[in-house]
Symmetry: C2
Subunit: 143 residues, 2 copies
DNA sequence: AGATTTAAAGACTTTTTTATCCTTTTTATG
DNA sequence: CATAAAAAGGATAAAAAAGTCTTTAAATCT
């Protein structure tokens, strides 16, 4: 469903969202240590997210990654789309075509609603929403 | 969610289910042509399914693949488990651990029920169920 | 028995994904 | 200005997934 890379990206962004601010930026090294994501690989993902303005960074001393208020409004779907490309989530479960209610494949009914609902959820859920859940103890960060 | 290989496997099994019988076995070559699955690769998958008794085959003239009544009772989950291994579907969406309601990850609530429901559906839906759907026009086979 | 048809099996190649390493650029600070 | 800290970028390596090719074994038919 999600690639490893997307999972890493979401984990990393959430870690930054919870543990940093503009005055208190966080290093790739530290994210890597806390999330167990290999540092160099993580850096690549963060680069990509930065390039698309989904997260923010500055180089040099006291630099690192952080999220602006705008960044906190980014949806999970935006993250996944940047990392995995756009159509990973909208294609048919059996790989026959774009998932199409008009011409449902054999397993479509097993998952159809469910899948579009999942994508809708990814689309409407922002980083900030998840941070709220974590802060309120509704869900957990990390291992 | 499902690997390419699993998608191929389900497609191929359904094709066999709809288009063959014990008197009218079907060749890997023909399945390949109709489903667009590369022949050699398909053969590998079919071999694996045969080895686990999820489908049936005989070699030699008038041989090929077919399904017994028992094979038709096989669940989709059995197919996926043989091809992808057991824990692809039960692991956490963020790859943190086995998905655990007691200790939900940040995206668990977005997908939690949904995912277990999907797995339950795969478990309780048999090849024959899907064939019925196809025959009744509720869903479609192939492209 | 011999020839032919077909799946099974194994070795191999290619592509994609994941991961690492090394260099360059930017920024802050003494 | 020199130095150090950090991300950005590019090249490469390793692992996994997808796909191919060749040989072997089983079944049938003449
Ligand atoms: S058509 Fe295949 S999942 Fe919707
Ligand atoms: S705990 Fe992560 S999906 Fe359930």
């Amino acid at each position: 469903m999600l690639s490893n890379s997307s999972k890493y990206a979401i984990n990393a962004v959430l870690y930054v969202a919870v543990n940093s601010s503009i005055e208190n930026k966080i290093l790739a090294k530290d994210i890597s240590r806390e999330t167990q994501i290999p540092q160099a690989y993580l850096s690549k993902l963060m680069q990509e997210l930065t390039r698309h303005n989904l997260i923010s960074s500055v180089r040099g001393p006291n630099g690192g990654f952080y999220l602006t208020d705008e960044n906190r409004g980014v949806s999970l779907l935006q993250i996944v789309n940047v990392i995995d490309g756009d159509n990973r989530l909208t294609s048919c479960m059996l790989g026959l075509h774009a998932c199409d209610h008009q011409h449902p494949c054999a397993v479509h009914h097993l998952v159809g609603d469910t899948k579009t609902r999942f994508v809708e959820n990814l689309e409407k859920t922002t980083v900030q929403d998840l941070v709220s859940d974590i802060k309120s103890g509704k869900s957990f960060l990390g291992i």
